[in-house]
């Protein structure tokens, strides 16, 4: 078994609408980037990249068959190539497991999505069960609306507190040249914006459509140290699925995230995440989620997500900045989202995050989520 897994290279595209670019071009771009950073090639003899793990979503392939493209495009066919039809953070974890098991030494992980090829809502309607949820016309926006309503009701979280998340993240995003939706929006602007699925307003939802990709190379400890002088180590990983039936869960409590986080913290030896972590990149598909997921991650107590944003703890300069990159509210594709959280943590721990750098960052947490109202979560902790 390998000792530790290090991330030795990361690459991200700009996150925008790539209607005129075939996804293979996007894939070549990020893959060549990480191969160039490390000098690695696809090899069968243990001297290069041993395997690939690709996260995407079949329906965003126009439609179906999206996973056919990767290996042949980048010259990696006739080799181990795993596909992940989930958030990209899971792909990072599966890649790390390939190394921890001793099966491979060097794994290239990619996440890619073109939201602009289809209707995200129509695809996400298919993400509900086909007997009840799909039949009645639910989708992930409606599921999020019901979760936000329950969360606000149960814990007294206010619309203003949710709007503050948008303001914080859209301000942070101004320091991230890869995102398109950073701006100087105010709490008042958010609360005046159009209602989409009560209590969620359009400015509180991740902008759609956004296209893009992320790639990274993971390596076992001894190879990681040779490949870069700034490896970032994966210290903990946890994942957990909840029941897909929304009525079987209390949507105000993200029990599956609590379990995923505890699994990661146990592996990393983290006892007090709020004190031991220097920053977190959390999947804020909707503004309320940053608050709710912060609770699930143990960055604050249950029902205290609102206080966390009020106190400024999670702002740049606060004790534990959350989403220095601007998060998904600045426009990042689904699926890519969780992997991009990992990539941003890597840049932070390498001290290469530019204007969004959290000074002196030594430990970080990345979080990915998929499914209606946060059904499944993946938590990855990292250190330099």
């Amino acid at each position: 078994m390998a000792d530790r897994v290090g991330i030795v290279a990361v690459a991200q595209t700009k996150f925008d609408q790539k209607r005129e670019e075939h996804l293979t071009e996007t894939l070549v771009h990020v893959t060549k980037d990480v191969m160039g950073q490390t000098g690695l090639e696809f090899k069968d003899d243990g001297t290069g990249i041993d395997s690939t793990v690709v996260a995407s979503q079949d329906y965003f392939g126009g439609p179906g068959g999206i996973h056919m493209h990767y290996a042949y495009t980048v010259g990696a066919y006739r080799r181990p190539d795993e596909r992940v039809e989930e958030d990209g953070a899971f792909a990072v974890a599966y890649g790390a497991m390939q190394i921890l098991s001793g099966h491979h030494d060097v794994v290239l992980v990619v996440g890619h999505i073109k939201e602009s090829v289809c209707s995200k809502n129509q695809v996400e309607n298919l993400g509900l069960d086909h007997i009840y949820g799909r039949k009645i016309g639910l989708d992930f926006v409606a599921a999020a609306g019901m979760q936000a309503m329950r969360y606000q009701h149960k814990y007294g979280i206010t619309p203003e507190q949710c709007a503050k998340v948008v303001v914080k993240n859209r301000t942070n995003g101004k320091n991230n040249p890869l995102v398109m939706y950073a701006n100087g929006i105010t709490v008042e602007d958010v609360l005046k914006s159009e209602m989409v699925a009560d209590p969620i307003r359009v400015q509180e939802a991740k902008p759609v459509p956004v296209d893009g990709a992320v790639a990274m190379i993971l390596a076992c400890e001894d190879k990681a140290k040779k490949l870069t002088n700034k490896p970032v180590w994966i210290t903990g990983m946890g994942m957990c699925y909840d029941h897909h039936e929304l009525g079987y869960r209390d949507l105000a409590d993200c029990d599956s995230l609590v379990s995923a986080a505890q699994m990661a913290y146990k592996m990393a030896g983290i006892k007090e995440p709020a004190k031991e972590l220097n920053l977190a990149e959390v999947s804020d598909h909707y503004a309320y989620q940053e608050l709710l997921w912060s609770e699930g991650l143990g960055l604050c107590g249950k029902g205290e997500g609102g206080k966390l944003i009020d106190k400024g703890t999670t702002s740049m300069g606060g004790e534990l900045p959350v989403n220095p990159s601007g998060g998904l509210l600045c426009g990042v594709p689904l699926i890519v989202a969780g992997m991009q959280r990992v990539a941003e943590c890597v840049l932070q721990l390498r001290g290469e995050a530019g204007g969004r750098q959290v000074s002196g960052a030594k430990t970080a947490l990345a979080h990915g989520v998929e499914g209606p109202a946060g059904q499944l979560h993946c938590v990855i902790t990292l250190e330099k």
Binding site: R19, E20, G62, P63, G64, S119, N121, Q122, N125, H130, I131, Y132, G133, R134, K135, I136, G137, L138, D139, V141, A142, G145, M146, Q147, A148, M149, R150, H153, E194, M195, V196, A197, D198, P199, I200, H243, E245, L246, G247, Y248, D250, L251
Partner: protein
């Protein structure tokens, strides 16, 4: 080759298959009771005692085969809701649509329902609702046309 802009070719791709999916014996019993008797049935786990609506063949917690059906009055309490303001082709009604999760009396879980006969801004978590069935029923959750406020 010149740099003169050529409009990229965009092809239209479609999903061409429709699907015939069985709802299984438990789902069939549940939907037939709604269709033929306007009754909402729950199913009880003999191990943990929980009553599930919509029903499953096996308890999601204990993985025990469940066979004890429980007839419910249909009345219940709203645990959460949202008002969907946008239009999509898969929606069964015109927006705004009030979607809710209702925990029926005697059940331990909530069921999806479309709320009606109430204005969106009058809906509150904790309100009581009861089902209104369609006249023409086909064996689907949509045979419950909507849930309306009740005592």
């Amino acid at each position: 080759m010149t740099d003169k802009a050529v409009k990229p070719v965009v092809i239209e791709a479609d999903s061409i298959s429709t699907f015939q999916v069985t709802v299984g014996a438990t789902g069939t019993k549940f939907l037939v009771e709604i269709r033929d008797n306007k009754r909402i049935m729950g199913i009880k786990c003999s191990s943990c005692g929980k009553v599930y609506v919509p029903p499953r063949s096996h308890c999601p917690t204990c993985c025990v085969k469940m066979s004890e059906w429980v007839e419910l009055s249909g009345k219940g309490t709203l645990t959460t809701y949202t008002v969907v303001r946008y239009k999509e082709p898969y929606q069964p009604k015109e927006p705004p649509i009030i979607y809710g999760v209702i925990q029926l009396d005697g059940a331990d879980t909530g069921i999806y329902g479309i709320l009606g006969e109430v204005e969106p801004d009058k809906v509150k978590i904790g309100m009581r609702f009861e089902p209104v069935f369609k006249d023409e029923r086909e064996g689907s959750l949509l045979d419950i046309d909507h849930f309306r406020p009740s005592s």
